[in-house]
């Protein structure tokens, strides 16, 4: 706790006893945030940390004088840069929001108007508030694009939102927020929806902007590693109350409150998978799977390929991890294995039998032994069916014992109390829903469970508990898991084997131990280096090492390595021939033109 010395200037943002209430439909008012107080000094970056439902976004919005539909600010005082936010009329608020405070939302893709060029939208705040003439605003915007390390800053403004990537849009949105030179900028989970490799570019850009523009910031996030990079001080929230407040270093290294300790413990990478799988025959053998769309070429290949001859053996009793950025084809691979995505070439063997591409042509036993757990538990559970009705149907369908006892046993397996059996999905929390989702798959007594990003939508602590559960079940039921994720920490902590996918190619396939040792495929190395670490100097080190890079991108060569346009060690041959697959001394299979010595 840092007490301000008596001579210090008054804080730029001062929140005293803030309370927010809200109600659903015509229901009674319930508190969202109670009695929250904090100060932010000028030029400081404060992190609001908490899981979903902790009220962190509501507080951030309240700073702009806004409460979401059905919510209202019920008490307390809010002073931002000399303005009393709660006692401003509509005109004052209008000026305040554009010029004094700016807000960067989580999903920039949804925040832009798809029908207007980006430049129009970026300079709009400056024009609306009559801060500068149009010509000056455009120049200012281009300067900000350069600061944000956007590719071709002079022409990118003419593009439409769909012509830019998610990471670029997020940076353009930051430029839009900064164009009026606000005193306070609120970042609301700006990188949560991005891949790690993109996230690091956005974080680097934010870091530089902070240094150059010198604004005061509030950074809302659930990711402690990002807090370590971006914030000076942090406020930990739970259920709308402050749990702990302190400097970032103290919160991350010496948390005093039990909740903060749990949060820090869940964020630290640790190995859950203590007993490696015994070597055995592959349970599922995927060979040269080719998936594409858009008709076929004369050679019989699809015009656009999503998965290009991916091979993958999954051993009995092991956890196989698949990692890659969004669009790399990892979900398509899972769907192909699950029998809901037709493939045009290749084959699959499951339990020694060929696996048909169409789920309807598979044997009932194959269907039962191969279960899919989808990412979004909200969509997977029928909202009109209770937990026990869902489970009972699976049990009766496969001819298993469907008594109340059997259902209680399955709920027990996923560590849920039996009292939950009569609840509807809407009456469950996110973590409970994901457990029921797992229970639904386990009720079929599967041999292999396909998990598609099952922890992506969950809070850190809840996700850690689900990963723990996965490993316990693996031991108890000798299950195999195929675990698809973009989270390298989660992958490392549970998997035996790892496949790194890039643009539909398997660029590296190795055991989890081989993943710790060089050499690596350049993309695997980039992926590894992009995962934020809890060390506060991590981002600075990276910036110091290679400065701020512009995105390297371009069309992938028609034949040759698809990673070539982004590859730091690309050579001329990379554009011409597909990379050969060779085995490194560590046992990893790597698809690259470079040799092991060159990559180490």
């Amino acid at each position: 706790m840092s007490l301000l010395p008596p001579t210090a200037p008054p804080p730029l943002i001062s929140v005293q006893n803030l309370s927010l209430t809200g109600h659903r439909g015509r229901g009674p008012e319930t508190p969202i945030v109670t009695n929250v107080s904090f100060n932010v000094a000028e030029g400081e970056m404060l992190a609001l940390i908490g899981e979903s439902g902790s009220g962190k976004t509501s507080i951030a919005l309240a700073l702009t004088g806004y409460a979401r539909q059905g919510c209202r600010i019920s008490g307390g005082t809010l002073r931002v840069a000399g303005h009393d936010v709660l006692h401003m009329n509509a005109r004052e608020l209008h000026a305040f929001r554009g010029m004094t405070i700016a807000y960067i939302a989580q999903n920039a893709g949804a925040a832009f108007n798809p029908a207007l060029p980006l430049m129009e939208q970026v300079i709009e705040p400056a024009l609306v508030h009559h801060i500068m003439p149009r010509k000056e605003a455009v120049e200012q915007a281009i300067a900000l694009f350069e600061l944000m390390a956007l590719p071709s800053p002079h022409t990118i403004g003419a593009r439409y939102p769909h012509e830019c990537s998610g990471g670029q849009l997020q940076r353009i949105m930051a430029a839009m927020a900064l164009i009026t030179e606000p005193e306070v900028v609120i970042f609301d989970e700006p990188t949560t929806a991005l891949d790690v490799t993109t996230q690091i570019e956005v974080l680097e850009a934010f870091r530089l902007a902070m240094r150059q523009c010198g604004f005061t910031g509030v950074y809302v996030t659930h990711d402690l590693a990002i807090v370590a990079q971006m914030a000076d001080r942090a406020v930990v929230l739970k259920n709308g109350t402050v749990q702990e407040e302190g400097s970032t270093g103290q919160i991350l290294t010496a948390p005093t409150q039990p909740y903060t300790q749990a949060l820090v413990a869940a964020s630290e990478p640790h190995t859950r998978n203590h007993d490696p799988a015994p070597a055995s025959a592959p349970l599922l053998d995927v060979r040269d799977i080719l998936v594409g769309y858009g008709g076929t070429t004369p050679e019989g290949r699809p015009v656009h390929t999503i998965l290009n001859q991916v091979s993958l053996p999954v051993l009995a009793g092991e956890t196989m991890g698949i990692i890659g950025e969004s669009g790399c084809g990892k979900s398509t691979l899972i769907r192909a294995i699950a029998g809901i995505q037709p493939w045009s070439a290749g084959s699959m063997m499951f339990e020694g039998q060929p696996l048909a591409a169409d789920i309807n042509l598979r044997s009932p036993q194959q269907r039962q032994h191969l279960q899919l757990v989808a990412q979004n538990a909200d969509l997977v559970l029928n909202p009109a069916m209770t937990v026990q009705a869902t489970l009972r149907r699976v049990l009766t369908f496969y001819g298993e014992d469907a008594s109340d006892n059997a259902i209680r046993h399955i709920l027990d397996m996923v560590r849920l109390p039996a009292a939950l059996a009569s609840r509807l999905p809407t009456q469950l929390s996110g973590g409970q829903k994901q457990r029921v989702n797992l229970a639904r798959a386990l009720a079929a007594r599967p041999r292999l469970v396909l998990c598609d990003e099952i922890t992506a939508a969950l809070d850190t602590v809840v996700a850690a508990a689900i990963l723990d559960l996965m490993m316990e079940l693996k031991r108890e039921l000798s299950l195999s898991w195929l675990f698809v994720t973009h989270d390298l920490h989660a992958l490392r902590s549970v998997c035996d084997h790892v496949a790194v996918l890039y643009a539909g190619h398997c660029v590296e396939f190795s055991t989890i131990t081989a993943l710790q040792t060089a050499p690596h495929h350049p993309y695997a190395r980039k992926l590894e280096a992009s995962v934020p670490e809890m060390r506060p100097d991590w981002l600075d080190n990276i910036l110091r090492q290679h400065g701020l890079k512009q995105d390297k991108s371009g069309p992938a060569p028609a034949s040759g390595c698809s990673y070539m346009p982004r590859c730091p060690v690309a050579a001329a041959t990379c554009a011409l021939t597909p990379p050969p697959v060779w085995q490194a001394p560590s046992g990893a299979f790597i698809a690259c033109h470079r040799t092991a010595q060159e990559l180490s």
Binding site: I340, R367, A374, M385
Partner: protein, 270 residues
Amino acid sequence: MMLSRPLHRLLPLRQTPVLLALFWLLLAVTGPLIAPCPPGEVVSSTVFAPISSTHLLGTDYLGRDVLSRLLFGTSSTVLLCAVATVMACSAGTFLGIMAALKQGLTDTLLSRFMDGVISIPSLLSGLVAVATFGSSVPVLVLAMACIYMPGSYRTSRMLALSIVRKDFILSARMRGEKTGYLVLREILPNMTGPVLADVGLRFIYAVRLLSNLSFLGVGLQPPQTDLGSLTRENLLGLVYGAPAVIAPALTIAILTVGLNLALDGKGQRQ
């Protein structure tokens, strides 16, 4: 707390239309039993008599008791239309969900067929049906069921289209569930609210069509009565301001407009 809130929210919304529908059904069943006179008996020498203590709603063009005839008429209108609506909506909803589920050729064939049926004005189809098969209770009910099935089909297909994309349908399909189970157990429970509102609307349409047909003289034939034929046979009484013509017309209005308003109110409050 968690349980009481949704119930507390749902009950007042569901009550009004449901209570209204129950009231009309009850009247339809008990009406003929509580009628003071037999519907066909001439009980007074005065035609188009005004409201009096012996004949609460006066007498009609032959001197029969209007209240008794109105109770019988309401009964046949409500029951006939209710049966037709239930038939139309159960077939329409089932086919609609199935089309959304199967997609492809099934969906195309069903949808084009339904589009064809819906493109003919309902009164015209009704007249053609009566002209072809003669006017009898089964013909009228079946004609109304066929005329209102496509509307119900379209509504439920649209509702089901958003549900079949959800993952729980995918997982049920991956399990290998039959179409019947998917339609009735997985999809239908998730769209009961809008489907029930649609049933109410179809019922109102059916009442209107049956009354129109009867008013034109091709609906229910004497000695059977319904609200439409009661209005038509006493049309002369309009000149005398007789309750014999006003009462059945007013009943049609109260039945349709009342139910419509109740359903609208439900939609708004959601």
